[in-house]
Amino acid sequence: GGSADDGTATAPGPSTAELGGTLTVFAAASLTDVFTDLGERFEADHPGLDVQFNFAGSSALAAQLTQGAPADVFASANEAQMTVVTDAGMADEPQVFAANVLQIAVPAGNPAGVTGLADLAREDLTIAVCAPQVPCGAAAEDVLTAAGVTAAPDTLEEDVRAALTKVELGEVDAALVYTTDVTAAGDAVEGVDVPEAERAVNDYPIAVLADAPNPGAADAFVELVRSGEGRQALADAGFRTP
């Protein structure tokens, strides 16, 4: 169970052999595959330890944490939601463990012949861009401003997956999304690199929560994520790693 009184054995320190109990990780939905994979490895390394994930949108996770959700680790898809948690005094010293940059996603075969950011201004194309309220939208705005392009989007997506879905279905000709999403989407989607994307790199911070029921395991898990092994897994999924 994910209830607060679940932390049966609290390990005193990061010494790997003594880890046990339950480790609860709140992680952004875009980390689902990577973290599930890392969690399994972590459990294998520490028999007796049970890793519980709660994947959802970063803002939902932040809201849950400020409402007193019992968690050990929070991995956010952006700095803003991590700030919500640190401002509430529930975590400190978040560390960036991955980063993501924008790419133009086009349907397989690139039917509209999109080659760069300038094409996003074409009125005849159906374009999806993230809404400015969400991280990828903020990033997109920065990138477009930097490139001096006034995009003509048909929809301001509320999350990057929604944009990608439309590309996969061939319903939009191009969408500004993250590289990781293009990677995850497989053959249905092709990525067009955007040089200006470097202007808006999106960092993924991770932190151990202040009143984590299982701080020992939490520290160990963050270590694993930031280790070479973790970095490799993240890179396989298309993330940049520090």
């Binding site: 803002s59 159906t126 309220q133 929809t155 509320e158 929604a162 439309k166 279905l169 319903e171």
Partner: protein, 270 residues
């Protein structure tokens, strides 16, 4: 026997009904009260006067009403067929109709793309032959909301039709009314309370629709950004603003319902 009671036209609600009813109200109303208490009312002014909010609110009301209208036009006949016709395969049909109820709305949006999208079964033809594109338009919002909300109407109207006394339809037939006239002039008024209930459910569901809309219609202020989308986006940055927006949506919809229902009910009363 012989108990002397205080007089009154209202004999009171029996305790085994009163207790759960009060609990139900508490259950439904307390969270709302929480929201109202917690809401940063200072934000109300700026939010209400923001043109974006007005736009989203208007679009929400218009599209939910259009979706309800469409659902009434299509769904009431379907409910009738399910309740009255003896055609075989009716139970399969009924089960199929309930499908959009359980389909996660985002998947519903994907499904709509598969039919009405540029590459969709019907949409491809619309696109090429008529140069009509449905996705990312206000029409798409209405369609997405109808798809998600119509089953609510169909199921509750069917329940009402089933409970209605079909002998009045016999009487109408002996007076020369064919099934269509009977439907219009006898059946419909008889089940008016059920239809009103179904329409309220349908309208409310359409008004709150989020997943299918954002998927199939996208999110563009003024064209496809309804209140739930605005609320969701606000949640990403400023949860308090989102709560205020939700409350605005609530107040408007409750006010609308209050007005409408009282009109309907007084007309539908026996």
């Amino acid at each position: 026997m012989g108990t002397v009671r205080r007089r009154g036209r209202e004999p009171g609600v029996p305790v085994p009904l009163l207790v759960p009813a009060v609990l139900a109200v508490a259950f439904l109303v307390l969270p709302l009260a929480g929201l109202v208490i917690r809401a940063p009312w200072g934000e109300l002014g700026p939010q209400l006067t923001s043109p974006a909010v007005g736009q989203a609110l208007r679009l929400s009301l218009v599209s939910a009403t259009a979706a309800t209208g469409l659902s009434l036009v299509l769904g009431v006949p379907l409910a009738w067929v399910l309740a009255r016709s003896r055609a075989r395969g009716r139970s399969v049909l009924r089960a199929l109709v309930t499908v959009p109820l359980v389909l996660p709305p985002v998947v519903g949006g994907v499904a709509l793309f598969l039919v009405l999208g540029r590459q969709g079964i019907v949409g491809r033809w619309l696109d090429q032959a008529l140069d009509v594109t449905v996705p990312f338009t206000t029409t798409a919002v209405v369609i997405a909301e109808t798809f998600v909300a119509m089953p609510f109407l169909v199921i509750s109207v069917e329940g009402a039709l089933r409970a209605a006394d079909a002998r009045f339809e016999d009487a109408a037939a002996t007076l020369g009314a064919d099934r269509w006239t009977t439907f219009r002039r006898v059946t419909l008024p008889l089940v008016a309370p059920g239809i009103a209930a179904g329409a309220v459910l349908c309208w409310a569901r359409a008004l709150g629709e989020f997943g299918a809309t954002i998927t199939f219609a996208g999110n563009f202020p003024g064209t496809t950004q309804t209140m739930p989308l605005a609320v969701y986006l606000a949640l990403q940055q400023d949860p308090d603003a989102a709560i205020v927006l939700s409350l605005v949506l609530l107040v408007v919809s409750v006010a609308t319902l209050l007005l409408l229902r009282d009109r309907w009910l007084t007309r539908a009363v026996r």
